[in-house]
Symmetry: D2
């Protein structure tokens, strides 16, 4: 991971961010029983307990083990809680994470406390002198925030498999606005710089900053809503091959898609499973849990297209900050669901928050990109194949985690993330 | 389930057996955490919590719900904890039992207490007058004993998937005897009656009692030992197709079998995973966790064959009772492992206990067999295809559960049961 | 293969049977193009060309290569056309037989002529002196007759995959009789000898002759008809789990069975694909292309059961010979289809011909069975697992190939053979 | 398909190109038997006969059926030989093309002659007046050239599955040059126009012509050779995860890749299957039959990278025409194999011919791309997902088929095309 140099590395404030970030993970896991924390409902999903342990393993491996005198908490964890860092040894198979009932959840919390204590000690004693380690702590916090979002999307999938439809955490939903025809903004052609300029933290995949040539384009101020998507369904959107990519058509047939993930038709109505329990689909809220294939087919049906990531980034530069983020939502005691903060949203509208927005851009290295050396070089670069970039953050993200250059990425068939649609022309 | 009429149905003694049997299930689950109880390591395995709930569901469904005034504990359990009774509605998919983290283990224990209280009430009040329900309680207890054994074999598989190799329950192993060449008994040709005569409890598949013609045969007094099996391995038993059934050869290649399940070669030594933790393979103990295919190939290699179930049953009639059963073992504080009671075993040797013994007999209905009416008719008959009969009981069975006519059955590729080998000629 | 000693081995008559049998194979292949002969429509199916070559390989391998001076026709054929004889080297993978376009069909016919010439030479010169080889030639002819039937069932499956529904060979269908309620015969209880007595040819799996004890039973004089089976379908037979074995229910769901193989509903009518092209289902003809699972479910629905193979064999002893065999049918210029010879059939009815009849007996070794030494020992014994015995021969069999002790066998899910149903009680 | 307007559409010259192109397809199929032409060795491969029929179907469907009076040759072919045009009805399943033995090859040739006669008639009579149809004929010829290449790569895969290793067509191999360190060219940064300008034929995916910003880069004058690749293998290139994309590492493990497709190690030597039979690997020839994953891993190992398609296109503008094309090779009686024309190649070297060159660019629509209306709109656009662009043409392409803006595309795991590597920095 090439972490850009940062002027403000300061052991004390980093320690307080460390404590806050780690505590937020535990806050997210708090409503869950030890059993909830163990379930892996599909290979892409990781158990909550695994997120709790793996993020800790990250600090232990990349921060604490730098000190040759450090004694590992448990040698077997080096293998059990490695995700995909082949240079640190063959990881435990991803699809079997749900089979490992021991160490128990209590033990994993002990592991967290053990590591937290030592990392904090380190930050207080010598971070000022050790900028490199401070940067890795920063990376670990950003990594933990990524897993906080996965914890939410994964547990949503887990609980959705249970016929009892358990509630993760109660919360209220805002009433959405009446939906006018969305306004669009128009941007002119020209050379634009995109990517991160190296001030403050970024992931290696956001660099180098570089020039791209963009044609003029229009981008919508609004997300596509459930109401819009219901029209697509009603217009046989899932049954018209001419709207779909060939691979999408095949995937939709195999997996029998007829609506976004978690939607169920009940007579004339559509209901959906949410982290706050089952609910009717609200036409005014942003559509969510659609794949790239569905986003692309919807755009074609609507006579539009998805923006490229460069278009999205350029358009987002003067966007106000969003409110549809996990930390903001919890503070407001709303439901963790796209659009639940509708009543609080700024004007003009933000391009950030509520749902990740599929872009038309496959996830590729920026010109001149070189992955960092060593195990942290496996963080991003090796996944640059058969995935698409998503932008903007969601109701599962922390507000402090996002920035205009942030590149999220998932395979085009993925639906369990908080992924939605913004149109472009 | 056709439960044969039984003279000794007596509410009081049945109630005490009910309490003892139900308590034994909980004793078996006691060493496990809530998380251990949730894991399903392969589709054939059920989580411990599922065994605890399903056995309770059995009593609720077939005993308590006979009373129209009975209020079910939770309506969703009728679906969640049905195993395979299609006539009671489509059961929850077997392969997803490990995904259901709620109800939690505590709640399942409450469910058990709720049902226990009402069943006991029923037994004390009117069992004498209600022979039919008493017979179903009897069936429920036998059913629970079957699940006690599955609980043990399933959790062994679950724990074996954990690289930490957790111990289910510590226990000592007897030192096995020096092994002499095993004695054989010889039985002459003739018509024999096999199957259950209807005195006391039996499962429907043990009936009707009927005649078979048997040629003269010899049957070994001893089980095949790990030492015997090590010779088979050393003689390239796993690499010589001429010893194997075609389907077995194919299965062994696909699953890369090179030894019984749970065995691992470490240099020159063989170790194995047991319910009391990892241990060296002891050549004097009975070999276990072999499939029918391996049992059959071993017998061919040894110049012998497996007995038919009729031969086994006839030979077992004057066998003394065994000691290698779960309840006996726990009482003696030994390990739940075949042969752990070697020091206590009777002379002459018993054909019962330690390991189930694969017979050469596919599992078929006895002449004149008709499955009972209703849901209980799904108990045995519908599984009579592509399975083989095993006889004798194992270190996972309760001693009170076995009898000479008892027919256990598993597919020929199954290895996670306590299944071993007795030779015949 | 233990071929029983035979009094009448005589080189000259064997040579003439050799010529006739080999010529019949070529007669069966004659309506097919080189391309037809190459297709493998599923792993269980072999291309026609493979049958032509493999049967020739059998004579080359087991007869000609006994002579150390013999030069093989092509060394690569030893590998390409070995079916499953592991003791002769790893065979070419079965599922890839359809990928091998060379040698071409012409070349395979040259191979046949090459081998035929030398086998005949051998038979004329020294068969009288070499009883062992003559017995292997006999075995090779029986083997070829088995492949003649497979050639027919395989090409039927191949052609059925072609939307053009090609005709293998035109032929007329007899008009079936009006169906009365079928008569049944009743046989009393007692010890019966079954299996082959060693006079004339038999396969090793028909021996040793041995005693079984049978209860009294009734067996139908008639095969189950398409009309009977249409009633089963109309009575929701494919949708009632209580009629099915558990494994059958699962298989039927996965493969979406709603009728016998090759049947298609068109509005109110049922049509079927036959070797003489598409045809309406005729209610008076025997039902065919049903699996064991369907046969068993039908019997349960009808309040009856399938006979065991011992019952079938005992009942068949005084049956007149049948007429529904491939050679008889071709001579009469009828269609190769069950019941096409209805007009010619004897009275009383024969138990032989038209369709193989599923028995309730898993395919197991007879008491005392030992597979022959060497490669021919792989002929039968190693398949004795997860298959059921069928009896009686079919419209795809040669009339000279059958006898009361003949044991055919297929897995319970197989449907592409000419397999039908006879009921028992 | 948006075919760009073309000044030179002239019925007579188009007719002569039609005849030449159609004849070349038949020349390519000439060395094959009817049986060779039927085999489908994996789902991605189509039988030769299918290529012969489908290209004819294309002309029948899009040219002849424009005339309402036209009678189709055989109505079933509309379904059988449709590839993937959903708007013309559900196509026959791709993976079953090898099961259809009828119509026979002779009949397919009759179909070709039937359609050829009518298309030519049309071209001679009214092409001048009917520019639109002439353009579709042009498209049909380009389409046929694409299938000519697939015919070669598909039959290579088919024949490679045969242990007899049949020769498709004999041919000599040039002796390669001694390999010096390859020269590179350097190109400066700036805005470049890429894509087709609409003069002459192009596919819709080459348009619109548009601007991109490129950083300065260096590109090699030479293809990566087998000798270079042998060094990668020798340096454990297939066993070092840090060189690979994550999905490539997983694919390589599952498919057990240890060298390019068709390579086999024999002791110390590497041999390979070619269309002219088995041959030793010649270190001086271009490496071929590598996936994108291998190309990318090789580049990383070499401290370089793959060019983007824009870089490749810009660099190719002043490249001389190549000689390593199928038609040139056949005229010179060389083997159809990369580098077989080494003795004839121009100086300076061409970027065209011998092997398609993987670029780092996922296959995406150019800015402003809109797929044509109707069935021809399914030609390209719907495949723009999870594929990579290849540039340059190969020894399987016709020389008249290529141009600098040509975009070929395959999934990153594809290896059976003539795909190789050119490095960039």
């Amino acid at each position: 991971m090439r972490v850009s140099p940062s002027a403000d590395i300061d052991g004390v404030s980093l320690a307080s961010r460390y404590q806050a970030t780690r505590a937020f993970t535990e806050q997210l896991a708090a409503p869950l029983s030890a059993e909830d924390c163990l379930v892996q409902s599909m290979p892409d999903v990781s158990p909550t307990r695994w997120h709790l342990a793996h993020t800790t393993w990250f600090f232990e491996t990349f921060v604490l083990k730098e000190d040759p005198a450090y004694q590992v908490f448990d040698a077997s964890y080096e293998f059990l809680f490695n995700s995909y860092y082949n240079s640190l040894g063959t990881p435990f198979p991803r699809s079997q994470r749900g089979l490992i009932s021991r160490p128990g959840l209590d033990e994993i919390h002990r592991y967290r406390r053990h590591v937290d204590q030592r990392v904090l000690q380190h930050l207080h004693s010598n971070a000022r002198q050790d900028a490199r380690l401070a940067r890795i702590v920063e990376l670990g916090l950003q990594h933990e925030q990524q897993h906080q979002e996965l914890l939410l999307t994964d547990i949503k999938h887990v609980l959705s498999c249970n016929p009892l439809q358990p509630i993760y955490r109660p919360g209220t939903f805002a009433v959405g606005d009446a939906v006018d025809r969305p306004a669009r903004r128009e941007l002119g052609e020209g050379i634009e710089w995109i990517g991160h300029d190296g001030t403050g933290f970024c992931f290696d995949n956001e660099m180098p900053r570089h020039r791209v040539f963009l044609e003029a384009f229009q981008i919508s101020d609004e997300l596509v809503t459930c109401g819009d998507f219901l029209q697509f369904i009603a217009d046989d959107g899932y049954r018209r091959p001419e709207l779909w990519l060939s691979l999408g058509w095949q995937t939709a047939a195999e997996q029998q898609w007829q609506a976004p993930l978690y939607w169920h038709r009940e007579g004339d109505q559509w209901s959906q499973f949410t982290l706050a329990g089952p609910r009717q689909v609200d036409p005014s809220l942003p559509v969510c849990h659609v794949s790239y294939f569905e986003a692309d087919a919807f755009a074609r049906w609507a006579g539009a297209r998805l923006p490229t990531e460069a278009e999205w980034e350029v358009a987002s530069r003067d966007s106000p900050p969003g409110v549809g983020f996990a930390d903001t939502i919890l503070a407001a005691e709303q439901a963790i669901h796209p659009g639940s903060m509708a009543a609080h949203r700024p004007s003009p509208r933000s391009m950030f928050g509520d749902v990740w927005q599929w872009t038309a851009s496959p996830y590729t290295p920026y010109p001149g990109y070189v992955a960092p050396d060593g195990a942290l070089g496996e963080y991003n670069g090796k996944f640059m194949c058969n995935q698409y970039v998503l932008r903007g953050g969601s109701c599962g993200s922390s507000s402090s985690h996002l920035r205009p250059t942030y590149r999220n990425f998932f395979p085009p068939e993925a639906r369990w993330q908080f992924s939605g649609i913004r149109l472009c022309r």
